[in-house]
């Protein structure tokens, strides 16, 4: 955390709205990226980030150590993402439609792999998606990821292992020839 950001957090914590707006502008892209990756849905990600920012403003006075702002904010984001994911799941169940967002990238030579990864990732629970994004996208340590998610380190390791294994299996399954050809 930079000194500037620490100062902004400190001012925002004491109710300085201008400082909070500046702070929000510096973090919103990162929040949105994480939310978009976990939720795989732009609208839901926007809602989750909005909710995170509102909760951040509301609860910022409870943050004791401004140098822990990033970790604290990540926890807020993860809670908002989880809430949004559950809302989305019940919504989908009620209308029985699963909205699939197109990938943000154009087709290329490895488009098949990307689709396999996308499919495998969508099959994961939000908890497993979260650990994958925290660890492999944000580059947090397994300990930091565990703290962010409020789970024991062992659980974080287990979830990461399960998630990567599930995605590996998704890749392998799609790479294998159709079953009837093998058995013929």
């Amino acid at each position: 955390m930079s000194i500037d950001q620490a100062a902004m957090v400190s001012l925002a914590r004491s109710g300085d709205r201008e400082a909070f707006d500046l702070l929000a502008a510096t973090v919103v892209d990162r929040l949105y990226a994480v939310a978009r990756l976990v939720l795989r849905d732009s609208d839901r990600a926007e809602d989750a980030v909005q909710e995170t920012l509102v909760r951040c403003w509301r609860d910022l006075p409870s943050l004791r150590d401004v140098t822990r702002f990033d970790a604290w904010l990540r926890r807020l984001l993860m809670r908002a993402i989880t809430d949004e994911f559950r809302r989305a799941r019940s919504y989908r169940a009620s209308i029985a439609v699963l909205r699939i967002e197109p990938s943000t990238r154009d087709a290329s030579a490895d488009v098949v792999v990307r689709e396999q990864l996308d499919t495998g990732f969508r099959r994961l629970s939000v908890e497993h998606r979260a650990i994958v994004v925290l660890r492999l996208y944000l580059g947090l340590s397994i300990e930091e990821s565990a703290v962010t998610l409020g789970i024991p380190v062992g659980t974080a390791k287990s979830r990461l292992h399960y998630a990567t294994e599930a995605m590996r299996l998704a890749l392998e399954a799609d790479a294998r020839p159709p079953a009837q050809e093998v058995s013929a």
Binding site: S14, G15, R17, F20, D21, A24, A25, V28, D29, L31, Y32, A33, R36, L37, S42, E46, V49, Q50, L53, V54, W57, R58, D59, L60, P61, S62, L63, R64, S103, T104, R105, V113, R114, L117, D118, F121, V132, V133, L136, Y137, H161, T164, E165, M167, R168, L171
Partner: protein, 243 residues
């Protein structure tokens, strides 16, 4: 093992490629609109921490001091009263002045009894039993700062602090830094028994007015050695352990 690493690298690269570059501007706009109508939750943390006076605070305090000059003069005359400079919990001298304003008080001495700006309502429940009064507790989990710790003291109705706040009508509590932290008046209010539990009501919290009126309920465990919070609100503490 290597296959696992390869998959992780593949996923990591895919996530980077999939990540959106920028968040839509409407996120900040929409959040800002909601925040316009959202108050910050003020917790006791504010006064637990070192009191840092920003220039803005100092300027505001200067204005208040000027405006309230006459009142401050009155405060200074009351022996043992707020602003007297004494740091010992001497017998209270509830001054007749009804104008004690927590926000304008220059809390130089913080462990003296404090007379509320206006009479406090009679709290509900029963007074503390005698085996609880006089006991001191550390905040649990501990709150420490530069060798000081936050300490809860449960006080009998005839304790100077309780007399100052409730004219002896109620048992009460203080939460103060030990050793005393100059300028930090801590929190205080009534301490009562409701349905067998200890209820602390925040009556005077000068550095966090948003907490005034909040209540926290604690189960009394281990013959009073442990006070375990029962869903305590943000303004209060999860629990206390006897010192």
């Amino acid at each position: 093992m290597n296959a696992g690493r390869d998959v992780e690298r593949l996923i990591a690269r895919w996530l980077v490629e999939e990540s959106p570059g920028r968040a839509p501007d409407r996120i900040l706009a929409a959040a800002g609109t909601t925040i316009d109508h959202t108050k910050q939750r003020r917790s006791a943390v504010v006064w637990r921490q070192s009191v840092t006076f920003t220039l803005r605070t100092v300027a505001l305090a200067a204005v208040i001091v000027l405006v309230a000059g006459g009142s401050l003069y009155l405060f200074g005359r009351g022996p043992g009263g707020v602003g007297s400079g004494s740091t010992s919990p001497t017998a209270p001298q509830p001054t007749p002045s009804p104008t004690v304003a927590p926000t304008a008080t220059p809390w130089a001495a913080v462990d003296v009894p404090v007379v509320p700006a206006s009479p406090l309502p009679d709290p509900t429940g029963e007074g503390l039993p005698s085996d609880l009064t006089g006991r001191t507790y550390a905040v649990n989990p501990p709150e420490t700062l530069n060798g000081k710790q936050l300490v809860l003291t449960l006080r009998a109705a005839d304790d100077a602090h309780c007399v100052a706040m409730y004219s002896g009508r109620s048992t009460c509590f203080t939460v103060l830094w030990d050793p005393v932290k100059s300028g930090d008046p801590g929190a205080r209010g009534s301490a009562r028994i409701v349905d067998g539990n200890l209820v602390l009501s925040m009556a005077i919290v000068p550095f966090d007015l948003g907490c005034v009126g909040s209540e926290a309920t604690y189960a009394i465990d281990d013959a009073g050695a442990t006070l375990r919070g029962i869903d305590p609100p943000a303004c209060t503490f999860p629990g206390f352990g006897e010192l």
